[in-house]
């Protein structure tokens, strides 16, 4: 019993070490491949600009809908980041090697989700600057903006990692991932939009209450993903 109790902290340490290893590897690959900078960010900016063109005649409407447009753009761009995260593992059989490495599936899940979340946070910062410039919005609550952005990024990343693994073994994963993931992350879209409305001062939403929803979503998918990821990898 005492030996088992001693093993638990060792296993937790190993999980964190391996998660950091996976996240570092995924981020290094993205830095080298520059897919995020050369494709995902331009795609997201293009979507924002198209929204601006569509609502150009009504500057007030742009300001009002800026939070929703921002998060729709983030979710669409996140599909590319999530798909890319699994594509690099599938490209030359590294997914099998990951299974054979003996790394705890919880660490694989945590590492991949962390790498996606970091990429999404960077994307959010760039897009937020774009929204301020293009849609002429001003930030009233920076703390709420930052917390909501972080919580939403973690929520999308955890759910995305879970569903990314679910479809990774299928030939139709590129089209199936959006169909499965977008309905699931609808609560993130709603919560983050309301929180940003409050942060931008464009609506009287209870931003901190909506932040609770975002944090709850991230926690649920974080725990659910960590517990079920091993079984998903076996089936992928």
């Amino acid at each position: 019993m005492r030996q088992t109790a001693r093993m638990v902290p060792l296993r937790v340490t190993a999980v964190f070490r391996d998660a950091w290893l996976i996240a570092g590897k995924d981020l290094k690959i993205e830095m080298r491949a520059r897919v995020g900078i050369n494709q995902i960010v331009p795609f997201a900016v293009t979507v924002l600009v198209l929204f601006a063109f569509a609502l150009d005649t009504d500057q007030e409407a742009l300001r009002t809908y800026a939070p929703g447009l921002f998060w729709v753009t983030v979710l669409l761009a996140s599909l590319l980041a999530i798909g890319r995260s699994f594509a690099v593992d599938l490209a030359d059989g590294a997914s099998d090697r990951l299974l054979l490495s003996g790394i705890d599936p919880i660490a694989v899940f945590g590492g991949k989700a962390a790498a996606i979340a970091i990429q999404l946070v960077v994307l959010e910062v760039l897009l937020a600057a774009g929204v301020v410039l293009l849609f002429d919005v001003t930030v009233h609550r920076y703390g709420l903006l930052v917390c909501a952005g972080l919580a939403a990024a973690v929520g999308v990343a955890t759910a995305g990692t879970l569903y990314g693994a679910l479809v990774s073994g299928l030939g139709v994963r590129e089209t199936l991932l959006p169909m499965l993931l977008l309905p699931v992350v609808a609560p993130v879209l709603i919560g983050a939009t309301r929180a940003f409305q409050d942060a931008f001062g464009v609506a009287g939403a209870e931003g901190w209450a909506w932040l609770g929803l975002l944090a709850g979503f991230a926690a649920i998918y974080g725990v659910f993903g960590a517990l079920s990821y091993g079984a998903l990898l076996e089936e992928a």
Partner: protein, 234 residues
């Protein structure tokens, strides 16, 4: 000696197709086994089953003492599978790939340097991204990332396929090195002449079944898998 692999009436399905249809096989620790058979006979599936990457639909199996029905993760930590794909990341350098898989397996930095040197990947090659390497160099990098794990069971699927002379020699060196370190080696290859010098036990795989027979030095080595297997290459 403790068996490295023991399969009893092992059935593995690929979809609904029984890629392995009741395999009985014993491989002793330290043994070198050559799997022979025509394309589609089930050799790759047999190697993947031994690696713990395929599940048993029925039957029983043990690899390195672990039950394939419920201890596949334990098996995976102790085996190395060289398949048709390299298992490497194109955007990482050779050294980064080897270091990543070494750290994933809990190996140290000296193991990485040793593996890179052993596979002649030192110098500028070590700092080259894998995506820019030739097929042979990629294969060597892939082998280096396996060597660093110091596996107890090597599973090599067509290890010579598509390689130049230098890389084929590297594969042979790997098998000899593994055998010298008393690891078990199971390989599927059509390069029979190259393997002969290692005097492997030959096991024929035909139609998802293992044909076991007597050890025979003069039995034919045909590729059609119709011969009675389980014999020594002359």
């Amino acid at each position: 000696m403790e068996p490295a692999v023991r399969l009893r009436a092992a059935v593995t399905l690929l979809g609904r197709f029984p890629a392995l249809a009741g395999v009985d096989l014993d491989i002793t620790s330290g043994e070198i086994v050559l799997l022979k058979g025509p394309n589609g006979a089930g050799k790759t599936t047999l190697l993947r089953l031994c690696a713990g990457l395929c599940s048993l639909a029925s039957g029983q199996g043990w690899v390195l003492g672990h039950d394939l029905n419920d201890e596949r993760r334990m098996v995976r930590r102790r085996v190395a599978l060289l398949g048709h794909r390299t298992g490497l990341y194109d955007d990482l350098t050779v050294a980064e790939n080897v270091a990543f898989w070494a750290r994933a397996a809990g190996a140290g930095g000296t193991d990485v340097d040793e593996a890179i040197e052993r596979l002649s990947l030192t110098g500028r090659l070590a700092d080259t991204r894998v995506g820019r390497l030739s097929a042979g160099q990629r294969r060597r990098a892939s082998i280096a990332s396996l060597v660093v794990r110091r596996p107890e069971l090597w599973l090599l699927d067509e290890p010579h396929a598509g390689l130049d002379q230098q890389s084929r020699d590297t594969v042979d060196m790997l098998v000899r090195g593994a055998a010298a370190a008393e690891a078990t080696v199971v390989l599927a290859t059509h390069e029979l002449e190259r393997i002969q010098v290692l005097k492997p036990r030959v096991v024929s795989v035909v139609g998802g079944m293992v044909r076991s027979g007597s050890h025979s030095a003069d039995a034919p080595n045909g590729e059609d898998g119709s011969t009675e297997g389980d014999r020594r290459v002359p």
